[in-house]
C-alpha cells in the first residue's frame, strides 16, 4: 500500500444538476468532504437528498440528464472531474471500487458469477483465464461464498440477495482498491444479512487498509462503522463531525430530528417522532436554509439567508444560524 500524505480523496464544492423537461434540478449544491486513507466516512441523509448522486459523480458515472457543473474531486492528486475518460476508466474498479444498493439487479443475469468477477481481473490486472479463475475462487472464499468451487459456475438467479451482495463486494475488491464507495450496501437486505455484510466489509477493510465512503440512511450502521459523518439535506452538507460528537452533541436541528426519530431500547414511546413537513422540491429550493420550512427553531432570516458551514470545534462543523456567531446579511 502506498503511503500518502494528506487525504485520499478530497471533494470540494461539487455541484451536480439534473436537466429535465421541468427545468434544472440541482441535486448536489456545493458538497465538500475529505476521506483519509484507511478510514470510513459516512454520508447520511434521507432519500433524494443527493447522496447517491455524490457517489456516482465521484467517478463520473452520472447518466443523462445529470451533469457535473463544478467542483473538484481530487483522488491521489488527480482531479477526476477533468481526467480524460480512458484514464478514469483505469481508476474505476481498480483504485476505486463501488457497490450498489440493489444486488439483485447489479449482476448480469446471463453470465455466471465467476465469469463476471474474472472479467475485472482480465481488464485491470491482465490475468490469464486460468489465473483469473484461481483468483476468483480465492476471492469468493474471502467474501464467504462457500463452497467456492461450486458457486463459481452458478448464475446470479441461483444466489440469495446476501450472496449476490457478497459477489458484488468480491468484484469491487478484486483489484484491492484504495477506496470503496458503498452506496447503501445493506438497504435491500434483511436485518440479519445486513449485519453479516457489514461485518464482512469491516473485516475486509482491516485486511486491505482501504477507505470506505459509506452512503446510507441508516444511522445505526453509521454509529457502528464510521469514523466521520456528513449529514446531507437537500443537496448540501448541513453538519459534519466525528461519529462521537455527532451522536453525543448533534447541533443541526435536522440531525437532532433524525436522531430523535430513531427507536431506542428502554424508551417505550407511543409513536416515533417524525419530522413534520416534506423536503422542498429541488426545482424550487428556498434562497436560505432548505430545512427552514420544517425546522422547530426557525428564525426570521432562516428562509432567506443561507447559513455558512462553520466550525464549532476542530472536528465539528454545522450550517445553521443557531450556531453562527456572525450575523446574517
Amino acid at each position: 500500500m502506498p503511503t500518502l500524505s494528506g487525504p485520499l480523496l478530497t471533494i470540494s464544492d461539487l455541484r451536480v444538476s439534473f436537466f429535465t423537461d421541468r427545468g434544472e434540478a440541482p441535486a448536489v449544491r456545493g458538497v465538500s468532504l475529505t476521506i483519509p486513507a484507511g478510514q470510513t466516512v459516512a454520508l447520511v441523509g434521507e432519500s433524494g437528498c443527493g447522496k447517491s448522486t455524490v457517489a456516482l459523480a465521484i467517478t463520473r458515472l452520472l447518466s443523462d440528464p445529470g451533469r457535473i457543473l463544478g467542483g473538484q474531486v481530487v483522488f491521489k492528486g488527480r482531479d477526476l472531474i477533468s481526467l480524460p475518460e480512458p484514464a478514469l476508466r483505469a481508476i474505476r474498479g481498480k483504485e476505486i471500487g463501488m457497490i450498489f444498493q440493489e444486488p439483485m439487479t447489479s449482476l448480469n443475469p446471463v453470465f455466471t458469477i465467476g465469469e463476471q468477477i474474472a472479467e475485472v481481473l482480465y481488464v485491470h490486472a491482465g490475468l490469464s483465464k486460468r489465473a483469473a479463475r484461481l483468483e476468483v475462487l480465492r476471492l469468493l472464499e474471502k467474501v464467504g461464498i462457500v463452497p467456492a468451487a461450486r458457486r463459481i459456475d452458478q448464475y446470479p438467479h441461483e444466489l440469495s440477495g446476501g450472496m449476490k451482495q457478497r459477489v458484488m463486494i468480491a468484484m469491487a475488491l478484486a483489484c484491492q482498491p484504495d477506496l470503496l464507495i458503498a452506496d447503501e450496501p445493506t438497504t435491500a437486505l434483511d436485518v440479519t444479512v445486513q449485519a453479516q455484510i457489514l461485518e464482512l466489509l469491516y473485516a475486509l477493510q482491516q485486511e486491505l487498509h482501504m477507505a470506505i465512503l459509506l452512503i446510507t440512511h441508516n444511522l445505526g450502521v453509521v454509529a457502528q462503522f464510521a469514523q466521520a459523518v456528513h449529514v446531507m439535506y437537500a443537496g448540501k452538507i448541513v453538519e459534519q463531525a466525528d461519529v462521537h460528537s455527532l451522536f453525543q452533541h448533534p447541533l443541526h436541528p435536522y440531525t437532532r430530528a433524525l436522531l430523535k426519530a430513531l427507536p431506542r431500547p428502554g424508551h417505550r414511546a407511543e409513536r416515533l417522532a417524525a419530522i413534520a413537513g416534506t423536503v422542498p422540491t429541488p426545482f424550487q429550493y428556498p434562497p436560505g436554509c432548505a430545512f427552514a420550512s420544517r425546522c422547530p427553531d426557525v428564525r426570521g432570516h432562516c428562509p432567506t439567508a443561507e447559513p455558512p458551514l462553520t466550525a464549532t470545534d476542530p472536528s465539528h462543523k454545522v450550517a445553521c444560524w443557531l450556531h453562527e456567531r456572525s450575523v446574517p446579511p
Partner: protein, 325 residues
C-alpha cells in the same frame, strides 16, 4: 442438515441437483411445442440435404444438374431412365429420375439439391448481414443515444435513417438494384441483407434503452470496463432474444425474396438452379408437367413454414411472459 461455517454463511448441502442453465430452460420449453420440434427436424434435414447436395452436384459429381438429355424430357417423378439412349456418364444415380425431368431432360432432383444450398445460404448470409448491421446501428443508437453530433443526437440520426429505409418498398428497391448490378448470388445476398436490417435495429435499440438504465450496466461502468465490452459482452446477450426470433423469421423471408427474384428472372441466372428459377421454368408447363411447378413450390412452402414455426416457438421459449400456463 444445514450448518454455519466460520464465516457465518449458511452452507447448503452439496447433493442438490444442478440447476438448469438458461439454455437448458429454453430447450425444455421449446421441446414441448411438437410442431416446432418437427419443424426444427425439417430444417436440420434441409441443412444436411443442402450440404450433401452441394457435395454431390459440384464437388464429387454423382449427378449433374446441368446435363441436358433431350430424349428424356418431361419424365414424371420416379420414372426410370432409358439406358440405351444415353451416355453412361449422363445416367442419373440408380437409373431413376426421383423427381422427374424438365423440358431439357435435366434431372429435377439434382437441380433441387443444388437449389437447396443456394436458398439456405442466401437465407443465412443475408440475415447475417442484416443482423450485424441491425445490432451495430441499434446498439449505437441505444447506448450513445444522447450524445450529440452538432445539432442532432446520434439516436435521432440513426433512427431517422432507419425510418427512411423503412419507407422504401423494399422489393422494388431490390429489383432496381439487382437490375443495375450484374446478377450474381453474392449481390443478391448483400442486397437482401442491406434492405432488411431495420426491424433488428429497432428491436436492439429498444432493448438497449431499457438495459442502459439497468444496475448491472452501471455496475460494469463502475468497474471500469471499456464501452465496447459493456455493449457487446454485457448488453448484446441480454438483448439478443428478440433478434434471434426475428432472424429466424428473416431467413424465411430472405428465401422467399430470392425465390421471387429468381422467378422474375432477376435472381441467380440459369443454368445455375435455384428453387425460384426451377419454379419459373416450370410455370410454362404447369398442365403438361405439374411436378416441375409443385416440387419447388412445395419445398419453398415447407421451408418457409418451418422457419416461421421455429421462430414462433423460440419467441415463446425465450420470453417467459409469452409462455402459456
Amino acid at each position: 442438515m444445514a450448518d454455519f461455517t466460520r464465516t457465518g454463511v449458511l452452507a447448503e448441502p452439496l447433493d442438490l441437483p444442478t440447476p438448469e442453465t438458461p439454455l437448458q430452460e429454453v430447450w425444455r420449453v421449446f421441446r414441448k411445442d411438437k410442431l416446432a420440434l418437427a419443424s426444427l427436424g425439417v430444417l436440420l434435414l434441409l441443412l444436411v440435404v443442402a450440404v450433401a447436395g452441394k457435395v454431390v452436384t459440384e464437388w464429387i459429381i454423382v449427378m449433374n444438374p446441368e446435363t441436358v438429355r433431350l430424349p428424356e424430357k418431361f419424365k414424371p417423378p420416379l420414372s426410370s431412365a432409358s439406358a440405351d439412349l444415353l451416355l453412361e456418364a449422363d445416367l442419373p444415380p440408380f437409373g431413376v429420375y426421383l423427381l422427374g425431368t424438365d423440358e431439357l431432360g435435366r434431372d429435377v432432383f439434382a437441380r433441387m439439391l443444388q437449389g437447396a444450398f443456394v436458398s439456405l445460404s442466401i437465407g443465412f448470409i443475408a440475415v447475417g448481414i442484416s443482423v450485424l448491421i441491425g445490432v451495430i446501428l441499434g446498439g449505437l443508437a441505444g447506448f450513445y443515444g444522447s450524445v450529440t453530433l452538432g445539432f442532432i443526437s446520434i439516436d435521432t440520426l440513426i433512427m431517422r435513417f432507419t425510418d427512411i429505409m423503412l419507407c422504401f418498398p423494399t422489393f422494388f428497391l431490390i429489383l432496381t438494384v439487382v437490375a443495375l448490378l450484374p446478377p450474381s448470388i453474392y449481390n443478391i445476398m448483400i442486397v437482401i441483407g442491406l434492405t432488411s436490417w431495420m426491424g433488428t435495429a429497432r428491436f436492439v435499440r429498444a432493448e438497449f434503452l431499457a438495459l442502459r438504465e439497468q444496475d448491472f450496466v452501471v455496475a460494469a461502468q463502475a468497474l471500469g470496463l471499456p464501452a465496447w465490452r459493456i455493449i457487446f459482452y454485457h448488453m448484446v446477450p441480454n438483448a439478443i432474444a428478440p433478434v434471434l426470433v426475428s432472424a429466424t423469421i428473416g431467413v424465411a423471408s430472405a428465401i422467399l425474396t430470392e425465390s421471387a427474384l429468381s422467378f422474375l428472372g432477376f435472381g441467380v441466372q440459369p443454368p445455375y438452379a435455384t428453387w425460384g428459377n426451377i419454379l419459373a421454368d416450370g410455370k410454362d408447363f404447369i398442365f403438361d408437367a405439374p411436378w416441375l411447378f409443385f416440387i419447388p413450390g412445395f419445398a419453398i412452402f415447407t421451408v418457409v413454414l418451418a422457419f416461421n414455426l421455429v421462430g414462433e416457438a423460440l419467441r415463446e421459449a425465450l420470453n417467459p411472459k409469452l409462455r402459456r400456463r
